[in-house]
């Protein structure tokens, strides 16, 4: 038994040029703008918040119901309810300056032009440290989905956003594709700085009493532990296909789950649904990561990135 000295391990990480004190981002759409969780969590102990996706124009969102609990997970079909970029910039963005952690804006769109336009306006604000491009929302029927499911569209959306900002640009991929590495390569070619892997998996549930779909939108996105093995494989494959840093996500609830994604090749992780179980999860994950690093004699979390993946292409 090797005893390692109990030091405080370095949990900081970089997602391209985005520096994070902790490797834990709060997933877009799951954490509001952070203030909603402030009564329950010290936001200085998380890496950052990815804001709810914003679109060019205001959106009412999908009809209720928008949520269905399923085995080890959650189906959601919010439908990108948001006030649109104008109202967002005017009323909401200023208060993000108060966040004691990184603030990542999330941009959704229905055209290549949308992605460029909204990115440009949002990224221009000092309160925003980086942009995540949500090209993979499964809940805006026959609209947004296509971008992350088609390499050419993914490339064009990424290029439009790339031209609109020099801030770190994280492009969020969908698992609902035959070959995710093809999309990852297209994003890399278009100048994306990093990849968020992955958004929710398309799914549905039926109410057997009403004999009708449970969700107002019929279909939804599956998140939570149920999708973890799927998301982990996506990270593993993308890490072998491109050199871009990866933000792993999909069902991460514990430090062990986070370690799986880091070892597969993610430089950071996003936590979404686990907050709905227990808002203390993100801090518990960091505590668990520190313990693991100590017990296994690692000084820095970065040393673990890709350590289980012999096909990992990235750098630590």
């Amino acid at each position: 038994m090797v005893t390692t000295p109990r030091i405080t391990p370095d949990l900081s990480t970089n997602v391209g040029a985005l520096r994070l004190a902790f490797p834990t981002l709060m997933a877009s759409g799951c954490y509001g703008s952070g203030e909603e969780y402030a009564p329950f969590v010290d936001l200085a102990r998380i890496g950052g918040v990815v804001l709810k996706s914003v679109t060019r124009f205001p959106r009412l969102g999908n009809d209720a119901p928008r949520l269905v609990p399923v085995a080890s997970g959650l189906l959601n079909a919010i439908g990108l309810q948001n006030p649109g970029i104008d109202a967002y910039l005017e009323r909401d963005v200023a208060k993000f300056a108060e966040r004691p952690c990184a603030v990542v804006g999330s941009v959704a769109g229905f055209s290549v032009d949308d992605y460029g336009y909204v990115t440009e306006r949002l990224a221009a604000r000092d309160e925003i440290d980086a942009i995540e491009l949500n090209i993979s929302c499964p809940n805006v029927a026959h609209e947004g989905e296509t971008f992350a499911c088609d390499a050419a569209l993914a490339e064009r959306a990424t290029r439009a956003a790339r031209q609109a900002t020099t801030k770190p640009l994280i492009v969020k991929l969908s698992p609902n594709v035959t070959d995710i590495t093809e999309i990852a390569r297209a994003v890399e070619a278009a100048g994306g700085d990093a990849l968020a892997v992955v958004n929710t998996v398309r799914g549905m549930a039926i109410d057997v009493e009403r004999r009708a779909p449970m969700l107002g939108n019929v279909t939804g996105g599956l998140s939570g532990a149920a999708m973890r093995p799927i998301a982990l494989l996506a990270v593993w494959e993308v890490a072998a296909a491109v050199r871009l840093p990866i933000v792993g996500q999909g069902g991460i609830e514990t430090a062990r789950d986070a370690l799986e994604f880091l070892l597969a090749g993610a430089s950071a992780v996003s936590i979404g649904t686990a907050n709905f179980t227990d808002p203390r999860a993100p801090v518990a994950i960091c505590d668990g990561l520190s313990t693991y690093l100590n017990e296994h004699g690692y000084a820095a979390l970065r040393d673990l990135v890709g350590a289980a993946n012999p096909t990992f292409l990235g750098t630590r």
């Binding site: 909603e36 205001p58 209720a64 949520l67």
Partner: protein, 276 residues
């Protein structure tokens, strides 16, 4: 409904008692002094599932006194089943209190309370607040069968009049509680209701038809419970004071409503402002 000034927090509580007044209905008492001091009628707490892996469960504090908060749980699925089997001594983490709660003052001094099933749990604290103000209160309470009519005596003990109804006629009126309400509801100055959606819609219709203001406590599947996920949407008239400033309707959409969050703008809404 104005938002209440409470400060939600994470509370580490201990189960102090467990009662099962009817099959499938369990009352769990918690030692939770801070929470007990903070809860207002009609608010809720999110209960962290001890076994993890599922979203926290929204539950309304039922009784609340001194150091103790109790929850009334009707077993319908895996999370309520897990909570209903908690033995005294178990630790239980909850966060809250959350939501706006009822506006007791705005209900005036002749109030009809309408409870369907476990909706009763949200109304006891309100009844107490109303009776402290010496409002005249009648409880209309419906359930499947006599055994499931749990807790009506507590309302009687507070001095509320009580009208009961059961689906099978085993106690009180045979049929939906909204039927006796339809006949007498107009006599009250205001209504406050909690129960399954079909019941609340019926109460809403009765209230609007009779010109009686009604506060309805809504229920939907929640994920976050804190306003972060926008999963618990309900269509609300744009003109409502409770309508969230953001978001406005989508470009090109011509609708007279916005989506409010039940967990944050609600769970209590004025019946005439809902557009469902």
């Amino acid at each position: 409904m104005p938002a209440l000034l409470t400060s939600p927090a994470v509370h580490t509580t201990v189960v102090s008692e467990r009662r099962e007044p009817a099959s499938g209905i369990v009352i769990v008492g918690l030692r939770a002094p801070d929470l007990a001091g903070a809860v207002r009628p009609g608010q809720f707490v999110m209960v962290v599932p001890p076994g993890g892996e599922r979203c926290a469960t929204a539950l309304a504090p039922y009784e609340c006194d001194g150091e103790r908060v109790s929850l009334m749980i009707v077993v319908v699925g895996s999370r309520t089943r897990e909570l209903a089997t908690l033995a005294p001594g178990s630790a239980l983490t909850v966060f809250g209190p959350l939501g706006n709660g009822f506006d007791a003052a705005a209900l005036g001094d002749d109030v009809g309370l309408v409870a369907g099933g476990v909706g009763i749990a949200s109304l006891l604290l309100l009844a107490r607040a109303l009776r402290e103000r010496e409002a005249s209160v009648r409880l209309y309470y419906g359930a499947r069968t006599a055994a499931a009519l749990v807790g009506a005596e507590a309302f009687a003990a507070l001095g509320c009049a009580v009208t009961l109804a059961t689906d099978d006629g085993s106690c009180g009126y045979r049929g939906f509680v909204t039927e006796p309400l339809a006949r007498k509801g107009g006599e009250h100055g205001a209504l406050a209701a909690c129960g399954p959606s079909p019941m609340l819609r019926a109460v809403g219709r009765i209230a609007v038809a009779g010109g009686v203001p009604a506060q309805l406590s809504l229920e939907e599947a929640f994920a976050c419970g804190v306003g972060a996920c926008w999963g618990c949407a309900v269509p609300l008239g744009r003109e409502s004071a409770q309508a969230p400033a953001f978001p406005a309707p989508s470009f090109g959409e011509r609708r007279d409503y916005v989506h409010a969050r039940i967990c944050t703008e609600g769970p209590v809404f004025w019946a005439h402002e809902l557009r469902w």
